[in-house]
């Protein structure tokens, strides 16, 4: 008797595949839809200049979204990103402007210290979560408060000006009219996607996010992976802080306001599974662009910030529903 293993569940396969594809293509279709609508409604939307504008506007949220994508793929979350951006930003600014030592600290060294501080806080959350199985929304919530307080302590609660030009390059300069901040964001995105697609570490993030117990039984060091994604997410807050300092030309302990939820929303808008194991950086780029294009287009049409928030809320609601439905 010949039996055909492949034919066992063809029709339910088809439906499942369609739904799963909708998780991948849904965001792209939504983005195209937004582009079509705004291109028709206003002729200032689809210009080279305005597109660069959108990219520049989304870069900082995008950088944070990359870090959070690592966490969400692994079925973790990082709630501390906004306060971490503030803390590491004011720390670097304080060092380069000589608030602490009698002399100013050279920019590269200040950046390294900032990175070290950010990674250390991420490591605390990562250790508590991976070692003691404390949900990451709790451990990173603790870091949120910690970083918030540290930011206020370091900056004395005041904005820090007089930032040297070399620290502002990424946030301010352009190459061939393309803002460096955009190139910075896209390079980080590319490298992150390559890590996810081609390295064992990237695969293990998916494995742990998909079934932590199975990953452990197959010999994956689950603790190390969970630890690492929270450290990576913390490192990206330092990248975001550097870009942000250049964009606003100073650093202050409140500069992260509004930087927690949009990156997380962008990741989900991009089709990454809320519960881990599915998604990628390209999706996150699409999600970030959906947020950015929506705000930009509505702005061009004269809709104010409140209307933009309502629109983003509606889109996010649909996306979350799709996200869950697509996974049955």
């Amino acid at each position: 008797m010949a039996y055909d293993w492949g034919a066992v569940s063809t029709s339910s396969d088809l439906i499942q595949n369609l739904l799963r594809k909708s998780a991948v293509y849904g965001p792209v279709i939504a983005l195209i839809g937004i582009y079509v609508v705004f291109s028709i409604m206003t002729d200032r939307f689809l210009t080279y200049r305005n597109q660069l504008n959108i990219l520049r506007q989304v870069s900082i949220i995008g950088i944070l979204a990359i870090g959070v994508t690592f966490a969400i793929l692994c079925a973790e979350i990082d709630l501390s990103i906004a306060q971490m951006t503030e803390f590491t930003g004011v720390l670097i600014a304080a060092l380069v402007t000589g608030m602490y030592f009698s002399t100013t600290v050279p920019v590269p060294i200040a950046v390294l210290i900032g990175l070290g501080a950010g990674v250390s806080l991420g490591a605390i959350a990562g250790y508590i979560t991976s070692r003691f199985d404390v949900p990451s929304f709790m451990s990173t919530l603790a870091v949120l408060f910690l970083a918030d307080g540290l930011g206020l302590i370091v900056s004395d609660g005041r904005p820090i000006g007089g930032i040297p030009d070399s620290l502002q390059i990424i946030g301010r300069e352009s190459v061939a009219s393309i803002p460096l901040i955009v190139l910075f964001f896209l390079s980080l995105l590319l490298v992150s996607q390559l890590i996810l697609s081609y390295t064992r570490f990237g695969l293990y993030i998916y494995a742990v996010g998909g079934d932590r117990q199975a990953a452990r039984l197959m010999g994956i060091n689950v603790m190390r992976i969970r630890f690492a994604v929270l450290v990576i997410s913390a490192a990206f807050t330092v990248f975001a802080a550097i870009a942000l300092i250049g964009r606003i030309g100073s650093a202050n302990p409140n500069m992260g306001s509004g930087l927690l939820l949009p990156p997380i929303a962008a990741v989900i808008l991009g089709g990454t599974n809320l519960f881990g194991g599915e998604g990628n950086m390209i999706g996150t780029l699409v999600g970030v662009l959906i947020l950015g294009a929506l705000a930009n287009g509505l702005n061009l049409m004269g809709v104010g910030p409140s209307g933009q928030l309502v629109a983003q809320g509606i889109i996010l609601m649909i996306a979350v529903l799709m996200n869950v439905l697509a996974r049955g």
């Binding site: 695969l203 010999g219 060091n221």
Partner: protein, 263 residues
């Protein structure tokens, strides 16, 4: 005391989960090149016992002697490093990954592309997976996600992992529970082939026919206790059932049978 043809000895293994005593002072001996069946009612402690060996659990007390040396197996990585491969009852497949990714999970082939940068060798792994699948006569695309597979296909994918390396001990926890008669027979053939190639095997099954077809000895657990080992010749259905159900051999001779029928 290290018997030359004893590859593994578990002594006095005890494991509790809170109030539940899953294993109470259990011994197990595995001879080199043998297939040891492990039988027992649902909840008797079979999976718990082999999980102490595959690093999924750490026993509360007891010793494990592997190749003449006492070892502690703290996690599945250490078990694999020792050469102990397991097909778990719960399969341990990541539903969101492809068959190839699941087969190689934890031991991906990589190649160095830059100093410090290694990437996965996806082509090699896929070719190898294709071979394994055709060896087990599973006609599915190795790129397919595991959550798109049928229950039997998943079980076969989990089993195919043991063929990837050349382990010293292979543990199979109910490897045929979801399989058709034909597929189950192929797995039994596979088990015998792996034995011929030098592996020592622990097979857990509720199917006496499967067990008797391949096992040399059958050990029975009853409510977390070790109630005896039977050579396959004396392992009649009645004997096994008696031990499984009551922990003693009632039908033998009529008087209080000695439960520990050993080799």
């Amino acid at each position: 005391m290290a018997d030359r043809d004893t590859v593994l000895e578990m002594e006095g293994i005890t494991k509790t989960f809170g109030e539940i005593v899953a294993l109470d002072d259990v011994d197990l001996t595995l001879h080199r090149g043998e297939i040891l069946g492990l039988a027992g009612d649902n909840g008797a402690g079979k999976s718990t016992l082999i999980k102490c060996l595959s690093g999924a659990y750490e026993p509360d007390s007891g010793r494990i002697v592997f190749d003449g040396e006492e070892v502690t197996i703290e996690n599945p990585r250490e078990a694999k490093a020792l050469g102990i491969e397991t097909t778990f009852q719960e399969l341990a497949l990541a539903p969101n990954l492809s068959i190839t990714q699941n087969v190689f999970l934890g031991r991906e082939e990589t190649q160095r592309v830059l100093p410090l940068v290694s990437v996965m060798n996806k082509g090699t792994m896929e070719t190898r997976t294709r071979e394994l699948l055709s060896d087990l006569e599973i006609d599915v695309d190795p790129d397919k996600r595991v959550d798109d597979l049928s229950g039997g296909q998943r079980q076969l994918v989990a089993i195919s992992r043991t063929m990837l390396t050349d382990p010293e001990i292979i543990i199979m926890d109910e490897p045929t529970s979801a399989l058709s008669v034909e597929a189950a027979e192929r797995i039994l053939e596979l088990i015998e082939r792996m034995r011929r190639e030098g592996a020592s095997i622990i097979l857990i099954s509720h199917n006496f026919e499967h067990m008797r077809a391949v096992a040399d000895r059958i050990q029975i657990l009853h409510t977390g206790r070790d109630v005896g080992v039977l050579d396959v010749e004396e392992a009649t259905r009645e004997n096994i059932v008696d031990l499984m159900v009551s922990g003693t051999l009632e039908s033998e001779g009529g008087d209080d049978g000695d439960p520990a029928v050993s080799v």
